[in-house]
Symmetry: C2
Subunit: 249 residues, 2 copies
């Protein structure tokens, strides 16, 4: 390591268990042998940010101002890089990203980079109904020529319910609901499942499903943040992200 | 729940994995069914705080000013309750606690309350060499007439080494080192082990040791914080903590 890593500002609490899991994975990915070699981390978990899927499905932009305020607060506290361990929130973050004073590590870009590397032939999209309806994953994948398979409405409802159960601290029920949904997806096509809601990796792990069949958005964000903090200037951007999915020209 | 919970300021990074585990347990203990019912959390993980055991053993007070600054920063950001998921740091926190603008949930008091409830007949103290040498646990236990058994120097070195390995992201080695030390303690006397360093519960869990034989300082702090945030005015203070260990008069 040359010099100190950059400071990371995390806008969290969406949900709280996912924020803790993100911090656990980030600590594990830091090239650090002592506490002193880890990055400075500033976290703001703000429960006043409304439910993102409800807002998206009702056309309500209430989360936008709070997300913007939270990120500006973190930058004001000294964050040099920003991250938000919530996929659905990124629908609004895309609208304010250019105005942020410091770079944002984008969870959709990070996750699709990891997905393309793990499974060039395509993957299932497991996300909240808000994320799926927004098309944020599908657009980024399409720009890179990558195939994301989207569950039908009945399966989508079961996947969304699993994410909501994790937020309610009902992880065993979440695991059972998600397990059956994942097994049904895999029965239809045996490609990996992208857990593109930050609660779903918790349900996936609790379900005892095989790690090899999952691309976790929380893990992908943690990996991308460790890279951004210790080796600034690496891969970023939706086209860069998905361009790499096509392989070399 | 009546009204919103209080805001928690967490001075973390001592170490980073322990901070993540603390936030995981706090989220699990919050009486919340949605993200919006969780408390507001402000975290500052500051890697510039020097190693606490090294400072204690060399009589260096360098951590004091940084711990004080960090807690004042969190209060300035709006924290209404403070917590520091690092046992050794509390040696200095005891010197500044009275000057803090908002209450601190004290990890030693929280842990000894949990220990007394779990094992009235005594417990082994597993902590960093700095924490053991400071006597912070022994004093609080003695004030309440509680018996804490302290490992001999050779076992203490193995326990401290396990905590250091967790900080270095070498959890499997930490688990093996701690497992053998715990089995040796339990061979000498079959009382529970207080994991009174926030890295040690991670080593304990990874070692596959029986949960019933452990009182985790991270879990005790998370439980005490959930109580302080949702039901302010509950048990606190070293005498209150250890007084309860004696049982009813």
């Amino acid at each position: 390591m040359t010099g100190r890593p950059l400071s990371l500002g995390v806008l969290g609490g969406m949900g709280p268990a996912a924020t803790a899991e993100f911090l656990r994975l980030l600590a594990a990915r830091a090239p650090a042998a002592t506490d002193q070699e880890h990055p400075r981390i500033l976290l703001l978990s703000d429960p006043s940010i409304p439910d993102r899927t409800e807002a998206l499905l009702s056309g309500d932009d209430a989360p936008l101002a709070l997300l913007h305020d939270g990120l500006l607060t973190l930058a004001g506290w000294g964050a040099e890089v920003l991250a938000v361990p919530c996929n659905t929130a990124h629908v609004w973050l895309d609208r304010i990203r250019a105005e942020l004073p410091v770079p944002l590590v984008h969870i959709v870009e990070a996750t699709l980079r990891a997905t393309g590397a793990a499974s060039p032939g395509g993957a299932w999209l497991a996300a909240t109904t808000g994320t799926v309806a927004s098309g944020i994953y599908q657009r980024c994948a399409r720009a890179g020529g990558y195939r994301l398979a989207v569950p039908d409405d009945a399966l989508q409802r079961r996947i969304h319910a699993a994410a909501t159960l994790v937020k309610a601290n009902r992880v065993p029920e979440a695991a059972e609901a998600f397990r059956s949904a994942v097994l049904e997806l895999r029965r239809r096509e045996r490609i990996p499942v992208v857990t593109a809601c930050t609660e779903l990796p918790i349900a996936y792990a609790a379900a005892g499903l095989p790690p090899d069949n999952e691309v976790s958005s929380v893990a992908a964000l943690a990996t991308a943040c460790a890279e951004a903090l210790y080796r600034p200037g690496g891969p970023a951007g939706c086209m860069a992200a998905t361009g790499s999915l096509k392989g070399a020209p």
